[in-house]
Symmetry: C2
Subunit: 321 residues, 2 copies
């Protein structure tokens, strides 16, 4: 954190022509952005959205209403410009990169075996760690992967305890039988891997997935590059939670853009101590929730940077300095 | 409401390449916009923000931490481009008009007399009714007026009952003594005008203000021009509530963009049956909350209009038609 940039934001804010605090969270956001971009004023001109895609062995366990080939089909849809993420990037001024991760080689079904070998999880982490973030003002990491809410639920339980009932939801639309199967898979995974899950990175390897590891890698790369991260939904938040499980300040550069309808997400954000910016009943992934918040984030920057001060505008302050 | 445009939105939505319902409120918004713009697809290219300013006789009663001349000063700030509303219009792609309403002639202090004569309230309503809305896709009405949360509280109590404690908040930052004075002024006004407040338009005349009447006029003009309205905070919502008090569907073309920190706003939105899109702890007025939501609203349109269908993208649907 850049305490000098933070101090300069805090000094400017009360001079602007509005009642103190009247922009609410917009004021906090301007300060947080300056702190984690390491500069004053903050800027949000160039936003990069990276969508990682992966396939999951557990998708064969009846935990999704969609067949696994949809991961591949949706990647083609991203590349052709037809998905929600494409429209949201265009409408909100973000550039998009799509990175499929070994789609023809799903992870192992993690109720039976570790999802990834050590080499595999490192390769996936590296897909995020090596993102080119030069000139980028903020990063959004999104995902696509049939079965990945099951991985997010298992990883959340591994990192924060509780039971499968706490973390498992209906994902893309499971019925009651599907929900029961998904809970059983997560419970079996937690039992199968036992104490090995106490190490957050080992939990990521054993019950995560390639796109989760890549998102975690991206968030770490962003920290080092002084690029704030706007977190998307449950899967993104579960992946990034690995860093907070290792260090209580590990996600201080990450903002919860929204809280999704997937019930585990609300619990997860509470565990992370993060208050989401928006509650829009979304549950799509692809970075969609974070992209939808960009106008609001740019509004925060625009007010902090562009407003006149009381002195400049000749407006009488409540308590003139 | 255009039920044909609504039906066409509802027919397209489930064909798009995402799990049904996964865009949550964005899906509802696309449908609501089509219904009240009377066309499919809906569009949000041209957004007009109109800020009305007025002065209030009750401002002499110690109900604000700012002196009344700040209304005039802030209008100059709007015209010079230095206020929050200017930055938010620029950042979110809205055009701005500022309409000062007889600033040198404050309304009468409404704890003693009707705020406006019949001629005055009609003139103020007309400032909104005569807005040029041709080519406009959505309207935001904002306000500036030292003392106007007192008017909004009195009008809310007149329309929806309760007590001054329910509706009166700290506005731009009153201390406990100021809050007590403001409550007393509102209680005195309600007692003074008595049964005359049962008629919503008469309540607007007696305890409202010019900018409130103008905002109400603007919302009515928008209804007739098939222009949806994005409602801002407490003062805007109280002004527009006049139409719902007269007709339970009178604000169906208006959306609650946000809920402000002013405690009466939450109560008012509940009385209006409106769920706000965002909770950002804002309490500035000027249309600021509604402008901050524009990115989200454009996201809804972009997804509905631009996404590929399952058939177009060759993606396997959960339940192929």
């Amino acid at each position: 954190p850049d305490t000098d940039a933070r101090a300069r934001t805090e000094a400017r804010e009360p001079t602007l022509t509005k009642p103190a605090g009247s922009l609410g969270r917009l004021e906090e956001l301007a300060c947080w952005l300056a702190t984690w971009q390491g500069r004053h004023p903050p800027a949000l001109d160039r936003i990069r959205c990276v969508v990682f895609a992966g396939n999951h062995g557990v998708a064969t366990r009846g935990v999704s209403v969609y067949p696994p080939e949809v991961t591949h089909q949706m990647v083609a849809n991203f590349q052709a410009g037809g998905a929600a993420v494409n429209q949201l990037c265009r409408a909100n001024g973000a550039d998009l990169a799509v990175i499929p991760l070994d789609l023809d080689r799903p992870t192992a079904p993690f109720d039976e075996a570790p999802a990834m070998t050590e080499a595999e999880v490192l390769e996936a982490l590296n897909a995020g760690l090596t993102l080119d973030l030069s000139g980028v003002d903020a990063l959004i990491v999104g995902e696509m992967g049939i079965g990945n809410t099951t991985a997010a639920a298992a990883l959340s339980q591994a990192l924060f305890g509780g039971t499968a009932v706490d973390w498992v939801g209906r994902g893309t639309g499971l019925d009651d039988n599907g929900l029961a199967r998904k809970r059983a898979v997560v419970s079996a995974a937690i039992a199968r891997h036992g104490d090995a899950l106490r190490d957050p990175l080992e939990a990521l390897r054993r019950v995560g997935g390639r796109e989760l590891a890549a998102m975690a890698g991206g968030a770490l790369a962003a920290r080092h590059a002084r690029v704030p991260v706007f977190m998307d939904g449950f899967i993104c938040s579960a992946a990034l939670a690995v860093w907070q499980a290792m260090d209580s300040h590990g996600l201080d550069h990450c903002l919860a853009a929204h809280v999704s309808m997937e019930p585990g997400h609300q619990r997860l954000l509470a565990a992370l101590g993060k208050r989401p910016l928006m509650t829009l009943d979304m549950r799509l992934g692809e970075g969609s929730g974070a992209l939808t918040c960009l106008g609001l984030l740019r509004s925060a920057v625009a007010c902090h940077v562009g407003m006149a001060t009381f002195a400049e505008a000749g407006v009488t302050d409540k308590d003139p300095a």
